[in-house]
Chain length 219, copies 2
Amino acid sequence: MKNIRCQLFKGIKDEELKQLYNCLRARQAEFKGGEELYSFGSGKTVLGVITQGKVVVKKIDRNGNVNILDHIQKNGVISNAFAFSQTDGNFVSAYAVENTKVVFFDYSNVFKRCQKACEYHSQFVENLFDIVIEKSKTLSQRVEILSNKTIREKILSYLSFAVKNTGSTEITLPMSLTSFAEFLSVDRSAMMRELKKLSVGGIIKTDKRIITVLKREYI
Amino acid sequence: MKNIRCQLFKGIKDEELKQLYNCLRARQAEFKGGEELYSFGSGKTVLGVITQGKVVVKKIDRNGNVNILDHIQKNGVISNAFAFSQTDGNFVSAYAVENTKVVFFDYSNVFKRCQKACEYHSQFVENLFDIVIEKSKTLSQRVEILSNKTIREKILSYLSFAVKNTGSTEITLPMSLTSFAEFLSVDRSAMMRELKKLSVGGIIKTDKRIITVLKREYI
DNA sequence: AAAATATTGTTGCAAAAACCACAAAGGAAC
DNA sequence: GTTCCTTTGTGGTTTTTGCAACAATATTTT
């Protein structure tokens, strides 16, 4: 298996990485676009790195409503260890958005220090820590966005974070408007209506997936 | 300062703990009920353990809407390192619900290993890791709850997690109904109405803050 | 290039939720 | 015990949202 260079393995040398692969029982899997990542919804705890492609985590409730819980890009980490549990009435699953390669690790071995108490194992834990913190921050942003009552406020809250995170007032949505509505957990047509209102009000300018914030004092 | 026995210091001996306090520049602070925890909303990154009392993290937006972002109990960890950032239009603050004692640490020193590369420091990082994972899980549950469209679904989703987490179908809300509405980010009167509908429908039974789930197949 | 599929854009209508206002009950403080 | 304040409980009204349906573009697949 080719060595993966990503945040999870930052500061770990190639030869150490090989040993770590062994230690964590790394194995690669490939998924076609639209295909469901097995083992995510299963009871087993998984930890994986997306080395190619994109993954979306969705929840489908008993009424068939689809909610997007997470988007994971290349070099992103996917795990049910620290996010999104399955409840009786819901199915949480991860899907490859395009052709995707994932390297899975045995999560149970992460904290089992090998006999040699290797230093790079500590480094690995610290890297994983950073990633979980990052995910945690993203989740709290998500909570803040969703805790707005109206669609308008949700959109503006999203834009507020996006402007803050990117430093630009021209935001290109990393997903389709359909998915964006699912991300905000609102009806798509109602969202479109609200986007139009915001445009007419001169607060934003929209062109497909590109939203430009014109009046920063509103976000 | 008295030694704190909590998740954050699990597996660390008393004498090591003393050294760790020094290493992380631990300092205690007390807050009266209703008082705002300084330093949380400030730019500085804080890490604290609630050793007594209760804390609630709130967001107040430009329109004066209050949203509860988090509840932190005794032995819980409070930090802006991995959750809830301030944006231009919003104020995020933490308030003591009752008389509360907090021990603050210098977050910047957490990953600076002391010269002796003490083993307990690793243990500390691992403990903090567990806490962040826990918080992350709580946050994703929150996202799942909030990503329901209707108040009814939000309530049922909350109950679903509560039943799953506690193992009992009799749920005592850890907050007032007023706060519960803020937690679900819905209007209180609308929520009360929905609770009544669920009661009349025989799905739940309510008595103030005690909600008993009668038909598990609905949650 | 044509066909199939997904995305964007828009509307009328019904349902749900927010907002507002008020009364009663419960607790805390004096 | 009385006062004050918070919480609980309820109802009417307005606004917002979700739903369904459809057309027009894009995009992908064959």
